[in-house]
């Protein structure tokens, strides 16, 4: 009996300790309040994070080149000749080269997954589920998720995939994700900058305070770019529950035909 009681108490203590990591915060604190930590050196990333397109800190990015965040000169990105040649054929929906006339954006045209890191350029929420061995990231946009392994290295020769092979670590209070193993079917950003299967991305999530979460993205792709580059943006804690933003091809096609295509012809018909 006594042993059973001790086991029960131990189970409750363990559950409470673990649930602290999973505990969902509500967005009711004040800006500037100290960011909570799950345990020593591990930031508490729980809660729902909104990219905040409205506030003064809501940074809307079109590219990851911080010298040209709105892609007013997307052709000036540090592309290799291989990437520059691919870039000539893109018809992107954003930036200075934007067009909705027969765009070949794989997301816009085919509902392809936006991939990493382009998914962070959309105005939808994200949330984290932290466990000791895996951190899951759930994305409101298209309802996709990633599993970031916390207890292993990359495979020596990973299969190529839309989301890549992601491993993570906690470093200086930040959650750092290292991802390789991508296919080359996605665009890096909203303006059609290409990438190769050698793409290597570092994401660094850091809580600035209780209300704000900073994401810094660093792009390294020696086949496509002559140097690494990076940009950052800020998410805010929100009470708005995540909703449904699936990319249904039938809906996308209907919208394209009934609205967008009619803005592109001379007569509108």
């Amino acid at each position: 009996m006594r042993i059973r009681l001790l086991v029960l108490i131990a189970a409750i203590v363990a559950t409470l300790s673990f649930s602290r990591v999973l505990w969902a915060q509500s967005a009711q604190g004040s800006a500037g309040a100290k960011a909570p930590t799950a345990s020593a050196g591990i930031p508490d990333l729980s809660g729902i994070w909104d990219p905040d397109f409205h506030g003064p800190e809501g940074i809307r990015l079109n590219t990851w080149d911080s010298s040209d965040p709105f892609a007013q000169h997307p052709e000036k990105a540090p592309m290799t000749p291989w990437a520059a040649e691919k870039f000539k054929s893109v018809r992107p929906p954003f930036g200075a080269l934007q067009t909705m006339d027969n765009t070949n954006d794989p997301v816009q045209r085919f509902c392809d997954p936006p991939g990493i890191p382009r998914i962070y350029m959309y105005p939808w929420e994200i949330t984290f589920i932290q466990t000791p061995k895996v951190v899951y990231i759930l994305y409101e946009y298209t309802k996709v998720w990633r599993a970031v392994a916390m207890d292993r290295d990359h495979p020596k020769d990973p299969d190529s995939s839309w989301m890549g092979d992601a491993i993570g670590r906690y470093e200086g209070g930040a959650f750092v994700i290292d991802t390789i193993g991508f296919n080359d079917k996605t665009w890096l950003d909203q303006t059609g900058h290409p990438h190769s299967d050698a793409l290597h991305i570092i994401e660094r999530f850091r809580r600035l305070d209780r209300e704000r979460l900073e994401l810094a993205v660093t792009i390294d792709d020696p086949k496509a770019y002559t140097k690494t580059f990076s940009a950052s943006k800020v998410y805010k804690l929100t009470n708005a529950p995540m909703g449904e933003t699936l990319c249904a091809y039938s809906e996308m096609k209907s919208f394209q035909e009934n609205v967008i295509d009619k803005t592109q012809t001379s007569s509108g018909k």
């Binding site: 397109f53 409205h54 809307r60 929906p93 200075a96 934007q98 909705m100 699936l246 809906e251 609205v259």
Partner: protein, 131 residues
């Protein structure tokens, strides 16, 4: 009753074009420097992704009936702004500001993730949002 009046908003088109105001596509097809008011009758309210769309029958200044198609942000973002699938229905009277298509077609955009222009249904204003 139905009437379309036109006025020019103080927006610099180049500046607007440089900002990614849309969730899933840019605004190149619309004249963001111009805002018009459409007054007519709702013929369909399509509450679906990627963007909410309202179809409106309205007469222009010449008395000709036009079939307007006006888009908003995604359903999720419209909900967060205070709208719902019941914000309007077929047959409702609607007065709506919109940025018209550049090609002159009766197509407009009234909301993106960053703004919602004035929309009044049966005399009741719906939530708006400034850029």
């Amino acid at each position: 009753m139905a009437k379309i009046s036109v006025f020019v908003a103080a927006v610099v088109a180049l500046l607007v074009l440089s900002v990614p105001a849309f969730a899933h596509h840019g605004v190149a097809g619309y004249d963001m420097a111009k805002t018009i008011t459409v007054h007519g009758t709702v013929t369909k309210f399509d509450w679906s992704n990627p963007h909410v769309v309202v179809y409106v029958d309205a007469k222009n200044d010449s008395g000709e009936l036009q079939h307007w198609t006006i888009e908003f942000a995604s359903p999720v973002h419209m909900v967060r702004a205070g709208w719902s699938k019941n914000s309007m229905k077929t047959g409702d009277d609607i007065v709506i500001d919109t940025h018209p298509s550049r090609n002159g077609a009766p197509i407009g955009i009234t909301s993106t993730i960053t703004f919602i222009l004035k929309t009044v249904v049966n005399g009741q204003p719906l939530p708006t949002r400034s850029e």
